[in-house]
Symmetry: C2
Subunit: 454 residues, 2 copies
Amino acid sequence: MTEQAIETYLNENKDRFLEELKDFLRIPSVSADPSHDGDTKRCAKWVRDHLLSLGMETVEIHETDGHPIVYAAHCKHDDKPTVLLYGHYDVQPPDPLELWHSQPFDPTVRDGKIFARGATDDKGQVFAHFKGIESLFKTNGELPINLKIVIEGEEEVGSANLERWVSEHVDLLECDSVVISDSSMFAPGVPSITYGLRGLMYCEVTVIGPSHDLHSGLYGGAVPNPINVLSGMIAKLHDENGHVTIPGFYDRVRELEAEERAAFASLPITDEEFLEEVGAANTQGEEGFSTLERVWARPTLDCNGIFGGFMGKGAKTVIPSQATAKISCRLVPDQDPEEVAKQMEEYLREVAPDSVKVEFTVFHGGKPIVVSRDNPTVQAACRALQKSWDAETVFIRSGGSIPVVATFTELLEVPCVLVGLGLSDDRLHSPNEKFDLDNFFHGILTSAYLYAEL
Amino acid sequence: MTEQAIETYLNENKDRFLEELKDFLRIPSVSADPSHDGDTKRCAKWVRDHLLSLGMETVEIHETDGHPIVYAAHCKHDDKPTVLLYGHYDVQPPDPLELWHSQPFDPTVRDGKIFARGATDDKGQVFAHFKGIESLFKTNGELPINLKIVIEGEEEVGSANLERWVSEHVDLLECDSVVISDSSMFAPGVPSITYGLRGLMYCEVTVIGPSHDLHSGLYGGAVPNPINVLSGMIAKLHDENGHVTIPGFYDRVRELEAEERAAFASLPITDEEFLEEVGAANTQGEEGFSTLERVWARPTLDCNGIFGGFMGKGAKTVIPSQATAKISCRLVPDQDPEEVAKQMEEYLREVAPDSVKVEFTVFHGGKPIVVSRDNPTVQAACRALQKSWDAETVFIRSGGSIPVVATFTELLEVPCVLVGLGLSDDRLHSPNEKFDLDNFFHGILTSAYLYAEL
């Protein structure tokens, strides 16, 4: 097996690969819509049959309380590492249909891009791996590593049954690392590995002043106003330099390495471009950190909602009984969501005046994740991307969370390697979702090289 | 004419007075409900006919774009002061009907109280004056002062047409003072004159950060969060001692006189009673002032509403584009609503970071009012209350605003004397509204003594 052989195989089979991808995209496997349950089931079978046709030894459909999970395995080498490939075959609903330039389930190629629901999220990216695996079977006669595959059908509806299924199949899923292609490259032509995700702590705080709404004329000035009090409490959560003031909040924060900061700084994005994207007059955040550092590698505290008193048009002179804010923190390693929730609650209660009652509810959380860039799978993926794109791989992080990553990281205790093959303008979840064929074909090479490199 | 004669006349006619009040209360003059327009018109005629029967020289119905105004005058003395009595014959809707123990328009006496819609607000209080006037005619043969009467039919729907009518009839309404009985005594058996009302400035401020809602994971930490920013701005509106921090805010505030503070302090209310009423854990306000001083005689700043971002149940990880607060200030003499609005806008813009846009809207305002306690009508009312109740009159203020008071004060340029005859438990605007007959009869004496004292 040589890289040359793989490339040749790709070039000889490009048209067929594209036609097969179209078949995959034609199945309207909309997991959120029960009227498509038959299509979703059909799609799971299509994936199973396709994996069998590739040469995978074991291919099974596992039923769940929701949509089925397709599991496959091909493990021929006791002395080689085992990789678990994760993806999903379900797609978002295609609405609003009238905004599509071609039908969402009639895949259409225009300007070197294939347009269809699921093109990039996640059928196109999953299928690049399938064709990478095929290329290895065909050019090498055998896979160079042990490979397990999990393709679920409920990612777009919150992976409701995946966690339980994984926890019940820990032995079956035993592996050295998980590979996921369900995200984007940093920029076109810039191969990227996402090695860090932020965690989350989401809570709600309600401040109760008077036991009932009061007339602001007859009582104003002598009673605790829950909106003013809550605003004061929120204001105390940051200092003037944008640091979070909750005691202990930063205690477990892993500081960025000089090398990471240098790598982030070298990435091709400016604050002007960032501001154009968000439409704000200026950036705002923690002093001493760049925009990418702030969103990728620093913990945050944001109000996600606030409400209380009169919210209609015009004026009503009321002092409301209560006001509520939804507050969340994005967390970075090694912060712990439960600990941060406790710190937040203690601090909020401490800064509240004795004139009010404070109610505090934690909704949910997720642990932050960082994968060592020295990990062999990460290094292999780095080299594979570099070879397939003939460009240097950049290491990026994401400010968001990906629940399945937490599921695999926690239950299987292995690193997840995120090799995004899409682009940020792929319009996932929106009309006219697309996948660049250039990314599809480079993705096939990346997948084959990755397993070969290992 | 002696007080003895008036009292005797009252005692001889009590039963008839009560029956006549019942007739007045039976008319369902609900100004808000067009299906009662006929009743409202009928009620205006009833008032006209009753005033004629008392002996008033001029009695007229003035049509407006809404419900009619009844005007009466009896001015026989060039050398005597002229008093304008204001009241309203319209009532609130009686809903919810099922909570009434007797029908709202079937006046019923129980335990020395008359229950009916309008019993205290304002028919009962108006009718006490009518019977006081009758008593003077009957025992004295003539009124001892010049009297004008305005009874409107739209107070419960915002007196939409009164201001214009007053402005068009300034000469007709020329007087030395206005007397209004449409409020409550400080406590049962404690005759009270309200000599001050707070003014109002009501505005709305919107903070705009990003141009559209953003994912809190992908952007959080680097963009201005309008909820956090707005909370910080609101927090900056007060210092730690509860003082408003807006520059110039207190410049025109008339300080309380030592005598007023002593009078307030002597009133029979404790903070414990106040807290029981409002249901808060503790009072909160401007340091250095008592609860009554805070609500009656100090300016305030209260948020009346706040909203932004996700306000549903559960969690949504959004950074909203904008957040809005409704903010109002209660004002005391000699603050000016327009000036305070300007100060507020300037300060809010000053404390906002350059990362956000700030939109500011002023809704409406009203000037604060204080009537000199040395005013002859105030002094006469004080003596009249004292004699009729055989108890010392207390001078109180109210933290609220009464729009008609501002109308008369500004257009006629005379003081308004507020002689509340009701009680705070009269349930005005609620089911089972009542008026204590004791208050009704003392009110008749108070009215007669007041005009006699002048």
